[in-house]
């Protein structure tokens, strides 16, 4: 049954399309993570869980009430943003006020977020069972040139691309977008030049969480979802930030393209089971070789 690796595969537009779709999802997720991590320096390993929640909102809306995922996407973004604002206003802000708590949280942030992510996953598993779920929406197949692609994929790609471009414009031209970039570069300096860091932080959480939830609804249109689908997305997003650079939006998009290409082509050329090996391989290599990508300052022990 094994397909012989074929050089012509590399040139196949089919694979290119698959890589583009994946890259678009990744870019949305990574931009959100980049924002939150950049502004707060907290490694949110529960970021992928927001993708999962977005997916369930679309699934729930469609399966229960027949709501188009396009409409659900709006709700999902709102829900994600609301969650971000709530989390920031109730917990994060307070943590950042107490230096003692902050030291403890920064130090152990990973364990805390890992715990949170386990909780969210299992709460969803209790609510919806651990089964894989999916729905069919616009699953007709289009043929464009030699590429055969499902309508829903094309739609998801289009929406994600528009969202990415909108983000790029926002960061480039909007006042708060520029403020966000300033905070990511230098929190203290940003405060000094008169940026209301607290207000921008709220927006960062809202935007970052909203983007992840949006990505979730798009993923759910094209693939099965489950309560445990989030973590691989978190890992991919981390890889992308490391590759593309902290606070670097364009870098995130390029990183997303790179990782998606490695995954899709790797899986096609070697074997599908190789996909996770590749992602984790890039992840480890990136953390070891380019830790400054995640930082801006050195994190080596010495």
């Amino acid at each position: 049954m094994e397909e012989v690796a074929d050089v012509s595969l590399i040139l196949s537009p089919q694979l290119l399309a698959a890589a583009l779709v994946l890259a678009a999802f990744y870019a949305l997720i990574a931009i959100g993570l980049n924002l939150v991590y950049g502004a707060m320096r907290l490694l949110n390993v529960a970021h992928g869980e927001l993708v999962m929640l977005g997916g369930y909102i679309a699934y729930w809306g469609f399966a229960r009430w027949g709501i188009s995922p396009l409409i659900s996407a709006v709700f999902a973004v709102a829900a994600g943003a609301l969650l971000g604002v709530l989390l920031y206003a109730t917990i994060i802000r307070r943590l950042f006020r107490s230096t003692r708590m902050l030291a403890r949280v920064e130090a152990n942030s990973l364990l805390v977020f890992f715990g949170v992510s386990v909780v969210i996953q299992n709460v969803m598993a209790v609510a919806f069972t651990a089964d894989q779920r999916g729905f069919s929406y616009m699953d007709g197949v289009l043929t464009i040139g030699s590429v055969r692609i499902e309508e829903n994929r094309l739609l998801a790609l289009a929406i994600a691309t528009v969202a990415c471009v909108a983000c790029a414009l926002f960061f480039r031209y909007a006042r708060s977008g520029m403020a966000m970039r300033a905070i990511i570069q230098q929190r203290e300096a940003a405060a000094l030049v008169g940026i209301d860091v607290d207000r921008i932080n709220i927006q960062v959480f809202a935007l970052g969480f909203g983007l992840a939830a949006l990505a979730g609804t798009l993923v759910s249109m094209t693939a099965q979802i489950s309560p445990f689908m989030g973590f691989p997305f978190t890992v991919s997003a981390f890889v992308i930030i490391i590759l593309g650079g902290l606070g670097n939006l364009l870098g995130s998009i390029l990183g997303a393209l790179m990782l998606a290409a490695v995954e899709v082509y790797g899986a096609a050329l070697i074997s599908p089971s190789f996909r996770s090996i590749l992602v984790y391989g890039v992840f480890i290599a990136a953390l070891l070789l380019r830790p400054q990508g995640l930082l801006g300052r050195s994190i080596a022990a010495r």
């Binding site: 152990n108 805390v112 890992f114 949170v116 909780v119 299992n122 598993a125 074997s271 070891l288 010495r302």
Partner: protein, 319 residues
């Protein structure tokens, strides 16, 4: 040794002897639970020996458990078990040396996520290897009896406690604590941080490797997704932090609590069980980082409302 030391020692020997006699008193089911308890003790004490003392929190100890299991399975009916299980432990220790070399240069949350990533990487590598070999899981027939496995696991649990106690009072433990507090200052007083961290990391992988070997003999079925499950790492960390990760009593208490919880919930509501573990991990890291034992100790030691700003027995990872 002090008088109190002797007394504690006697109590421990008596407790071990009693535990060793458990198979005479317990039925198969209860003995299985006791085996699980010994397993968590062995794993969490080994973890605490490195991560609790050094502050380098490993969220990847499942990989050592899994590798130990894999070695034992690969050598099943090739080599005798008394040889292959310890060999699994040695392989895990060797792997720790290999991984520790690059990883232990990275600190704080980055080390945590790196260990997790590496553990997952190796899991998928083993899955691929098994798939390439055309193996869909491996069945072991004719494994040792539950009693034998229990006694072996008991030995590992006791060994892991002894190792932690010895390391704590030895030069190595002092070096690890210094590294946890301030690595630059540690080097300035003569501590070769790289060597200290590496040797402790390898030591803390050895027993989990053997535990993996024993547990695969208990389940009689090897499947990499299961053997390398990150849930194992997560549970180890939670158990150790729950009890308090730099005393021998801490992980012991944490394991007791875990086994109790899992008896109540695991078969009936595994998700609820995981939710409770997650909540406990978050709550303890944030609010009781010194663990139950540390907290109890503070109460017993007549709380002094001094200017102490940090709980100085807690696992604190410097960013």
């Amino acid at each position: 040794m002090t008088r109190q030391g002797w007394q504690t020692g006697l109590v421990l020997v008596a407790a071990t002897a009693l535990a060793a006699a458990l198979p005479l008193a317990l039925g198969t089911y209860s003995l299985g639970v006791a085996l699980d308890l010994m397993m968590w003790i062995a794993l969490a004490e080994s973890w605490a020996m490195f991560s609790g003392l050094s502050g380098y929190v490993s969220l990847g100890h499942a990989v050592f458990y899994g590798v130990g299991a894999y070695v034992t399975v690969l050598l099943w009916q090739v080599l005798p078990l008394w040889f292959s299980v310890p060999l699994g432990g040695l392989t895990a220790a060797a792997l720790a040396l290999l991984l520790g070399w690059p990883c232990l240069r990275v600190r704080g949350p980055y080390f945590v996520i790196l260990t997790l990533g590496i553990s997952e990487f190796i899991k998928y590598a083993v899955i691929s290897t098994e798939a390439a070999l055309g193996r869909n899981g491996r069945l072991l027939i004719g494994t040792p009896s539950l009693t034998v496995l229990f006694e072996a696991m008991l030995a590992l649990a006791v060994l892991s406690m002894a190792v932690l106690q010895i390391v704590r009072s030895a030069r190595l433990g002092a070096g690890l604590l210094a590294i946890r507090e301030d690595e630059v200052a540690a080097e300035a007083v003569g501590i070769n941080a790289t060597a200290v961290k590496l040797s402790a990391f390898a030591m803390s992988a050895f027993i989990p490797g053997m535990v993996g070997g024993l547990m695969i003999l208990r389940s009689t079925y090897f499947e990499p997704m299961q053997a390398f499950s990150p849930t194992t790492s997560f549970t180890i960390v939670t158990v150790a932090i729950l009890g308090g990760s730099d005393t021998v009593a801490g992980p012991l208490l944490g394991s007791l609590f875990l086994v109790l919880l899992s008896e109540l919930l695991w078969t009936r509501a595994p998700e609820v069980y995981m939710i409770i573990l997650g909540v406990l991990l978050v709550a303890f890291v944030l609010f009781v980082p010194e663990g139950l034992v540390g907290r109890a100790g503070r109460f017993l030691r007549a709380p002094k409302p001094g200017p102490s700003s940090r709980d100085h027995r807690a696992v604190v990872i410097e960013p």
